[in-house]
């Protein structure tokens, strides 16, 4: 599974970090930081989908290879 994070769309809702802390941290201003390099580890795929499905700004996209 691939994951893409659009920093320009992020408004700091912090939903992704709460749902998938292994995939997203937040910076000092509260904006998300994607912690993986485009590829979601197999055991975190469910969390990646949750993060994408709960972002109010559609800043996260996941796609199966």
């Amino acid at each position: 599974m691939r994951i893409h994070f659009n920093r320009d769309a992020c408004q700091g809702h912090n939903r992704c970090h709460l749902l998938a802390p292994e995939l997203f941290d937040t910076d000092d201003e509260g904006y998300a930081i994607l912690l993986v390099d485009g590829i979601v580890p197999a055991d975190l795929e469910d969390k990646a989908v949750l993060a994408a499905d709960n972002c109010p700004e559609y800043a996260i996209e996941v796609a199966l290879d």
Partner: protein, 409 residues
């Protein structure tokens, strides 16, 4: 506790053409009103307040929230007068600010409200909540007002803590906010020394004389382009935190307890599996989002098939967007383990509620401590529940019966 008097009668005949969000008819029935309007408008209009629009679909609310060209935040509370503090700064930056100033004012505040900064407030918040419930339970009363005697006090105490003022100043906060939010649009004669700005100027002077490490201390240290913030900027910002941080959070906590009082099975589920709580909290925020924002039309624009003109007010009802069945499955149901929940309780776009991490933390801990300490509870007088009118919606009176006999296991 006695049953409250009959609510005043509504003066609105048709919500599509003459709505009034400050009308008593709005308070309890707002979700039904949005649903009705979504089906037949979907953007309602009223000549009240000099002309105001009410979109009800997620699509329209989102489009407006993301459009800072055709809409200005110069005032975010619909009133009978238009704002006099000029764009792009407005009375209370950054909520009343537009680009490009908005980002400057917002970035000053963001670090103070980041997830990491808010984590440090968890412990005092938990202590406040635990004390409040313990006192209610220890009083031995079977009926208490979960809005006025619990929910309300939580954000008041947390913000007093953040501003470095005594918890006993909380009553003053309530008075300021009531005048500004719930009686918005009414002309009030208030003595200067009773105004919020006079009070906050005193808080500022006290922090200058006795520097300390809290939010006001932080703002006094902040700079824009090498210059300290003006007193006006600091006072406006602190005023904003008081106005925006109290009724809103109080409303979310109260509405959640109102819901849980009617769903003991969900209380049991949350007690049995506390890991469900974070997801449940997002669902309560979706279903009972308290805050409707507002914009002024800056340039003529079409929304939902209606032509909006410069100077018109537009309400931005995030709670209505959150119940749009075009956007959410089972939009009218509370599904505490909802997996897909892009709710807009904290707004959308550049003005996303800066206190969202704080509010979410307060709501989570308030529910957690309540469920931990109250074995079971129910509405004591369903007809006695009073919901606020205006742009912040939540129960202001919430009589609940505490059942002391069902002990914690």
């Amino acid at each position: 506790m006695t049953s409250s008097a009959e609510p005043p009668a509504s003066t609105v005949e048709d919500w599509a053409t003459d709505f009034d969000h400050t009308d008593p008819g709005w308070a309890a029935d707002a979700p039904a009103i949005w649903e009705d309007l979504r089906g037949r408008c979907p953007v309602a209009h009223s000549d009240r307040f000099g002309g105001v629009w009410l979109p009800t679909r997620h699509e329209d609310v989102s489009a407006i929230a993301h459009d800072t060209v055709h809409f200005t935040s110069q005032s975010v509370i619909v009133a009978n007068w238009k704002p006099d503090a000029p764009r792009p700064i407005g009375f209370a930056p950054p909520i009343t600010s537009d680009p490009p100033f908005h980002e400057i004012a917002r970035r000053i505040l963001l670090p103070a409200f980041s997830p990491k900064a808010i984590r440090e407030l968890e412990e005092p918040t938990r202590r406040f909540c635990a004390e409040l419930v313990d006192d209610l339970v220890a009083s031995g009363r079977t009926e208490v007002d979960a809005a006025a005697e619990y929910s309300q006090h939580i954000p008041v105490r947390v913000i007093a803590h953040m501003l470095g003022v005594p918890a006993s100043d909380g009553d003053k906060f309530r008075g300021f906010i009531h005048r500004i939010l719930e009686r918005a649009g009414q002309v009030n004669e208030v003595a200067v020394e009773d105004t919020m700005i006079y009070y906050l100027a005193g808080v500022l002077a006290d922090h200058r004389a006795n520097p300390r490490d809290d939010l006001v201390g932080y703002l006094l240290e902040c700079e824009i382009a090498g210059q300290p913030l003006t007193d006006e900027h600091i006072l406006g910002t602190v005023a904003l935190l008081l106005i925006a941080g109290i009724d809103t959070t109080w409303s979310a906590i109260g509405a959640t307890l109102w819901h849980l009082a009617q769903h003991p099975e969900e209380c049991d589920r949350l007690r049995a599996d506390p890991t469900l709580l974070p997801m449940a909290v997002e669902e309560f925020l979706r279903a009972y989002a308290p805050v409707t924002m507002a914009r002024l039309v800056a340039e003529d624009v079409e929304i939902g098939g209606e032509q909006l003109h410069e100077g018109d007010w537009v309400l931005l009802p995030f709670p209505a967007a959150n119940r749009d069945p075009e956007f959410f499955d089972r939009a009218d149901e509370v599904v505490i383990d909802r997996q897909k929940n892009r709710h807009a309780a904290f707004g959308l776009g550049i003005h996303r509620c800066i206190g969202s991490n704080l509010a979410r933390m307060e709501l989570t801990i308030a529910v957690e401590e309540w469920l931990r300490r109250v074995p079971s509870f129910e509405l004591a007088d369903p007809d006695g529940v009073r919901w606020a009118t205006g742009q912040v919606r939540g129960p202001r009176t919430l009589p609940v019966r505490l059942n002391h006999d069902r002990k914690e296991s």
